[in-house]
């Protein structure tokens, strides 16, 4: 499940303090490694901080597995963060009609599945219908779909229940894969997948799966890939689990891995400017939010929520994070349509004091006690919590910081007993497909029973606006963007949540790996086919 992806960061956070110490050591003792980085070797080895293949079913996979699946499977479209629209992939063109309630995709010809079967519109229909029917993972993204028409082998027509940007849905990093639903033959399809099989059209296919081993998954090139193998490409992709950042850094030094998913900022800096290595730092769509309890406790008063927004030294926090994060303007991160500049929170201690004093709190006023929860083991959230705590202490606000396992943190947030709920809920959010709607519908749409709206925020007008914005996204993106800008302004006024930062992906790789660009719509995914081995 989505929440599970917290573990990515949680594992990195393990013993971060000591890794820092080690970073200091490696920083001074780095010597040119005896083994030269294995350039020219056509194997790309990607180190990840936790297990890759949580599940194997392309219909239900909703965790780390997408990092490998995006190399085995393809979607109809792929989001392009530069142009902020989707590019063709398995579909070469598409049109929408009837105000975005009918979508017609023309399929690429000459595409074959890994078992040799040619892909037709019937396969597109069958895989999406199976994904919807299994109703697991992120299959909800197909919610608008009423029927799928595959009467022409090269054309798929989606009839929707309501207007929805289906070109974006089709580019999703989960649940949008097109696969051969008959690949398992007479066997049970789901069981067949779980044995470590794939049935995609992508450039790579499973070579070896070592369940639970450190070299967890090997992919090999699929010779009949529609994109062809002209030019330089990696022929193998290996996914290796390396929980410790210090270990990953040494493996990279020695050339045993080609790229590290994530190091600590300090370790990442040791590779900057070092010959033989390339580093990239790109803004992601993984946003850290502090959901404020608008329903009960002191934060039900909007003045106090505003005071919190002004009373925290945000730029000091960014410095402490050593480049692993950037301030987030509004809710929608840069690179995603709907993003607006100039909405970052600013530090103004005087304003915070005034607001608190108006409410009877603050220096010289009543003492206030707030509870903050975050996911245990997440070093970044831990740091952010302690900085918020020390800033609030200056305002005569005592912050109780509680680190909980995710299920416990979530259960507390959903508690029906209002007195048991937290005041501040630290929470990462990123969309399941390239649509700002994800933040609004999940966290700020009114809910009778809180699910992810853990601010307990209810604003009927905003509810109406967000639904209008989503349906306009299917027909008039400019109008939709204007509504998203307006809603982000509303949220700054009501302040049900603090947009703390958007994470920066800091990758380090051998300089023999060229052509890497980050695509924040596919978190932590490396499209290995697009890389060029050199040297």
């Amino acid at each position: 499940m989505k929440a599970r992806r917290h573990q990515l960061r949680a594992t990195v956070g393990l013993l971060a303090a000591l890794s820092l110490l080690a970073a200091a050591c490696t920083g001074t003792t780095v010597t040119p490694s005896g083994q030269s980085p294995s350039a020219g070797n056509a194997t790309f080895t990607y180190s990840l901080t936790s297990q890759v293949m949580i599940g194997w079913d392309p219909a239900t996979g909703y965790s780390n597995e997408i990092i490998a699946m995006n190399n085995m499977y393809e979607t109809l479209t792929r989001y392009n963060p530069e142009t902020k629209v989707v590019d063709p992939l398995l579909a070469t063109s598409w049109t929408s009609a009837d105000d975005g309630t009918t979508w017609t995709f023309t399929l690429r010809s000459g595409v074959t599945f890994h078992d040799g079967k040619a892909m037709t519109s019937a396969d597109v229909k069958a895989s999406i219908e199976r994904t919807i029917e299994l109703n697991g993972g992120a299959s909800y993204i197909w919610g608008p779909v009423k029927t799928i028409d595959a009467s022409d082998p090269q054309t798929v027509v989606f009839h929707l229940k309501y207007a929805s940007p289906l070109d974006l849905v089709a580019s999703a990093d989960y649940a949008a894969y097109i696969y051969d639903t008959s690949a398992a033959g007479s066997q049970d399809q789901a069981k067949w997948f779980e044995q470590g099989h794939d049935a995609g059209t992508g450039p790579y296919t499973v070579d070896q799966w070592n369940k639970g081993q450190e070299t967890e998954l090997r992919l090999k090139s699929f010779p009949d890939y529609w994109g062809g193998w002209d030019g330089a490409h990696y022929t193998n992709a290996v996914f290796r689990v390396v929980p410790q950042a210090t270990t990953a850094s040494q493996l990279l030094q020695s050339g045993e891995i080609s790229m590290a998913e994530r190091l600590t900022p300090q370790l990442w800096q040791t590779f900057q400017g070092q010959s033989g290595f390339t580093t990239t730092g790109s803004t992601s769509w993984q946003t850290l939010l502090a959901l404020l309890n608008t329903k009960s406790g002191p934060l039900a008063d909007v003045r106090i929520r505003q005071a919190l927004a002004s009373g925290i030294d945000w730029s000091g926090m960014m410095t402490a994070l050593h480049g692993a994060a950037e301030p987030l303007s509004g809710l929608v991160p840069p690179g995603l349509w709907g993003h607006v500049d100039g909405l970052e929170l600013g530090y103004d201690a005087q304003k915070a004091t005034d607001l608190l004093q108006q409410a009877g709190y603050g220096p010289g006023g009543k003492p206030m006690t707030l509870t903050l929860t975050y996911v245990q083991g997440d070093a970044d959230e831990q740091l952010v919590s302690s900085l918020i705590k020390s800033d609030l202490a200056k305002l005569n606000v005592t912050l109780n910081v509680r680190a909980l396992a995710w299920p416990a943190q979530w259960a507390m947030g959903k508690s029906s007993d209002l007195t048991k709920r937290q005041d501040i809920f630290l929470f990462y959010w990123w969309p399941d497909y390239a649509d700002p709607y994800s933040w609004f519908i999940n966290m700020f749409h009114s809910e009778d029973q809180p699910f992810f709206n853990l601010s307990y925020y209810a604003n009927p007008q905003l509810d109406t606006t967000m639904n209008k914005a989503e349906s306009l996204a299917a027909s008039d993106k400019t109008a939709s963007e204007a509504l998203y800008a307006q809603m982000q302004q509303t949220l700054i006024t009501d302040m049900p949540a603090l947009s703390i930062y958007t994470q920066v992906y800091q990758r380090a790789m051998l300089s023999s790996v060229t052509g890497f660009t980050e695509n924040p719509a596919y978190p932590n995914v490396v499209f290995v086919y697009d890389l060029t081995p050199t040297g």
């Binding site: 490696t26 005896g34 297990q51 299959s139 020695s254 299920p407």
Partner: protein
Amino acid sequence: MTRYLLRRIALAVLVVVGVVVLTFVIARVVPGDPAASWAGPHASQQEIDRVRHDLGLDLPLPAQIARYFSGVVRGDWGTSIHTHRAVLSDLMTRAPSTIELVAVALLLALVLAIPLGLVSARWSGRLPDGAIRVGAVLSVSMPAFWLALILQLLFFQRWHLLPVAGQYDPNLDYTHPLVQYTRMPVVDALITGNWAVLRSALSHLVLPAIVIASYPLGVITRMVRASELDSLGEDHIRAVRAIGFRERAVLGRFALKPALVPVVSVVALVFAYALVNTFLVESIFDWSGLGSYAADSISSLDTPAIVGVTLFIAIVYVVANLVVDLVQAWIDPRIAVT
């Protein structure tokens, strides 16, 4: 002896059951709904209820525990909430690596500690004794994490002598594929005669084994020394000396055997410690054993997996203690009588 054995086994079973019940209760008291985790964030209430029923989570706690034990006996250790895979099969893929590592580390510790302890006792109060005692304190107090990083820095980065992490060179999978029987790379390489993998696996084993051996080495050395000195003060040793046996025979043949009784029980204790210590060391050396599995399952509150790991370790621990008790009884038959 049979009665003694039966009594020990009965106690051992009781300990295992107790541990499982305790873990079960603790895991259930912690907030969080396993059924909701299983069904995923977009599941409807009916679906969550269905999962709750399927997983038996709607039963009262004692019934759940009873259901769990009847499953354990039949080889069904439950299904992981997180991976939706059978816990027992997950454990069976992870455990061998950990056991291989701990076994090698303990063997290393024993092989070094017994002679060191003897030397220390032989020259008690003199220079070798002093040096060994300082060394023992150091090896006990060195934090495993720190030692691991230092070793990686020296042996890998500085001197390029040993690999930094992993169980063997993954590139050998292409040139010398390893057939897995036991899932312990060293053992599998040995029985299949895969010398390339064996060489690689052994060199990968050195550093983590040293780190895990560090604590047991210090403790056992000190225990051997103390207990040997005790034993040297006993009457029968004076008699042996009076007869005119050489010092070496006195130390080794006559004093060592009784001195080993307390040493063996310390080994059982440090075994448990090493097993848990492995969890940390595994993550540093990229060793895919029980440790990473336990860490994953705890952070996702994956109850069946947590209980499974706990049960497994309890069983290993209890069996190890049982073996130790039997070894002690064999060394000193008086133990079985009491």
